[in-house]
Amino acid sequence: MPKVLRAVKMDQCIACMGCMLTCARVRYQSFSVERSAIRVRTAGGFQSQMIADICMGCDPPPCAEVCMSGALTPRAGGGVKFNRDACFACEKCVAACPVGVITMDNELHIPIICVECGSCARHCPYECLEMVEVETKDYVKEEERMARDVEEEKNAG
């Protein structure tokens, strides 16, 4: 199963911002903290704990559902794939994301969106971020599977 990004241990975060700088560097060839699909911030100053705003790796992903151009498509294992050429910057995905992690880049005219590449996690010196395999969130498939199990049990019985 492909993995998705999880901010598993943000209580270990040292606020180095390495993850944000990495996302911008690797994905957008930019020096930036704005062009990053992960955002690390304090919950209220450095005396508080750190929080990471990241893509939830939805399955199915609401952002892809509203995407009319095919720029965003569901990715196996959760989250989305992004095809830059197909994107016409309509911003529908920004509104659709339930956790509000998609931002529009006004210079590049594309959404800054996580594609679950894991670069940020690889550069985190404190193992706060991790690529993990998650169980499917697709309740339709899940219900079908449970129904199958029941069926199989019956047949076996």
């Binding site: 180095c16 060839q29 930036s32 704005e34 911030r41």
Partner: protein
């Protein structure tokens, strides 16, 4: 810089409330940080006017590598020091360099005096000078909280909030500026200069992005440096126990200034050592933006404030210098006491080192009967945390003439009240945590900003086998020039082991489009160093007027007893060798 061939300077005049933006190609030869700030300072300083005159400038500058290479995290502040009357330069980490980078300004210059208290909010598209009457008088931490909630348009995580406390507002000459809660422009009184401009705080940040022009080259050297920083052990000391790892070794070797340097060994050193802090009270570690090290050690301070276990807690940042100044130097040998004192100093925005050294002098003066209980408002002896907390509060409250005079700094204080022989200042600046030998003492005296970090003389003392005066001078100069170079790029000095490799620095610069050679870097460092010394002379500094308090020669250093003649001789050689 960064993809452009100029330094973008933002000038803010608080008197007229107008700004000016300049793109200065001519500043490129100073690269950034210390160098650029010094050059701007040399153009703007008012030699004949008081350091707290409204016309004096405050200059902040970053370098081309800031934030985009690991451990390149610092910002330089240059100003005229109200403490020494001469060159003021202080460096701070935190989030400031990153915030400046993405605001688009390489340097920010502030002059003038606002008609009423203000703070400045800077982003890439706006500069606002806003009223700060409602936070004037507020504690440092509270000021940060209020501004965090107000200035939400610069996203959380991307802005830096630098601010002063009451000490700065009252222009106490050793008031610092707090940067993002746990970092500081501590030394030489930048806080007082803020106060003199009625400037409470600056909130800066931005959302600018810069294209990476040569991604292949850049990623290659970035990854190489990142690997060294995280895997080689080069940063291990700073990350694990942190700078307080020095307490015990320095104490054992007999170089830890204790009880106003009447001793260099502290019987309670083990209690306030880095290991002891780490094991008992370490709460977490933090990093400056763009650094994977996590050297900022936060200790848990738990306070029982009333009967029935009424308890509160806070996180207090600690480091070697603070443990020296608010620990051994004043005979406080328990961690909680040290943290409480650090917390008090933080609340008011005082420089911890200057404060500690002044407290030590006050204690000895009182014990010798040269200061009265009347003047102090209490009795004090080494190790008395409660008394020290009260004195710190009084330094800021200023209930009488004596406390008002304390606000002028130790050099002036001893001038008036006596006790010069044990007023531990070097170059009019309160001493730092090393009595290791001539290197430390003279290094701080001749260093351009009278900081132990100018030339690390204390390290020389610990590595040189036997005293060779000429060799010592050569090494001090070489080190200071090297550090002028590092702080112009504004690399954190903790990363010397990584960036000491000048070829690597050149490779990094090349990947972002800046041509340099090891030789050109050293030349630039020397130029900055010379400029500093030239400016100091203009502002009245004279090597021949350097005085060393007698105590330095009475108490055994790590290298034994020092003598005045040798010290003078080394200074003479320094002046000659340096062509100063």
């Amino acid at each position: 810089m960064l993809g452009r061939n100029y330094i973008k300077v933002l000038y803010i005049d608080l008197t007229t409330r107008k700004i000016k933006i300049e793109r200065r190609e001519d500043l490129m030869e100073y690269i950034g940080g210390s160098g650029v700030a010094m050059k701007l300072f040399s153009e703007l300083v008012k030699i004949d006017q008081d350091p707290l005159d409204p016309d004096q400038p405050i200059i902040f500058a970053i370098g081309p590598m800031n934030t985009i290479f690991p451990v390149v995290t610092k910002t330089a502040a240059v100003f005229r020091s109200p403490l020494t009357g001469n060159l003021g330069e202080s460096h701070a980490g935190g989030r400031l360099a990153m915030a400046m980078r993405f605001s688009g300004y390489d340097a920010v210059v502030i002059t003038g005096r606002a008609s009423s208290p203000v703070y400045i909010a800077i982003t890439e598209g706006s500069v606002d000078i806003k009223e700060a009457g409602f936070i004037w008088g507020e504690r440092v931490e509270r000021t940060g909280k209020v501004l965090r909630d107000r200035e939400t348009h610069i996203g959380s995580g991307k802005r830096s909030i630098i601010r002063i406390g009451k000490a700065g507002e009252k222009m106490i000459r050793f008031a610092g500026v707090n940067v993002d809660t746990y970092r500081h422009f501590g030394r030489l009184g930048l806080g007082a200069v803020f106060g003199s401009k009625r400037l409470k705080a600056i909130v800066i940040g931005g959302n600018r992005s810069y294209p990476i022009l040569k991604p292949k080259e850049y990623n290659k050297v970035y990854n190489k440096i990142h690997k060294i920083a995280t895997e080689s052990g080069a940063m291990k000391k700073y990350h694990e126990i942190g700078t307080p790892i020095n307490v015990v070794p320095l104490n054992e070797a007999g170089g830890l200034p204790t009880k106003n340097l009447t001793q260099t060994k502290f019987e309670l050193a083990n209690e306030i050592d880095g290991v002891s802090f780490a094991e008992d009270l370490l709460l977490r570690k933090l990093s400056c933006s763009g650094c994977p090290t996590g050297c900022i050690h936060i200790g848990l301070l738990r306070i029982e404030y009333g009967p029935g276990y009424k308890t509160k807690f806070t996180g207090v940042g600690y480091d070697y210098e603070l443990i020296f100044a608010l620990g051994s130097m004043i005979g406080v040998g328990d961690k909680k006491g040290v943290l409480r004192l650090i917390d008090a100093v933080e609340e008011y925005g005082l420089d911890a080192m200057s404060t500690g050294v002044i407290l030590a002098w006050i204690t000895e003066m009182f014990k010798k009967g040269l200061l009265t209980e009347d003047q102090l408002g209490l009795k004090v002896d080494f190790g008395d945390t409660e008394a020290y907390l009260e004195i710190i509060a009084n330094i800021v409250k200023r209930p009488n003439t004596f406390y008002r005079d304390v606000g002028m700094g130790l050099a002036k204080l001893a001038e008036k009240y006596g006790g010069k022989d044990f007023a531990m200042v070097l170059g009019k600046h309160e001493m730092t945590g090393y009595h290791t030998g001539y290197g430390a003492m003279i290094g701080q005296s001749v260093g351009a900003r009278h900081s132990h970090l100018d030339n690390a003389g204390y390290a020389l003392d610990q590595t040189m086998d036997k005293l060779d005066k000429r060799e010592m001078v050569r090494k001090l100069i070489e080190e200071e020039i090297d550090r002028c170079m590092l702080t112009s790029l504004h690399i954190c000095l903790f990363a010397r082991k990584i960036y000491g490799d000048k070829e690597l620095v050149c490779e990094a610069l090349d990947s972002i489009g800046i041509k340099a050679t090891p030789k050109s870097l050293t030349d630039m460092g020397e130029k900055v160093w010379r400029l500093k010394n030239e400016m100091k002379k203009k502002m009245g500094f004279d090597f021949r007027e350097l005085r060393f308090p007698k105590r330095f020669f009475e108490t055994k250093s790590l290298n034994g007893i020092l003598d005045t003649d040798t010290a003078k001789e080394i200074v003479d050689i320094y002046v000659k060798e340096g062509g100063l």
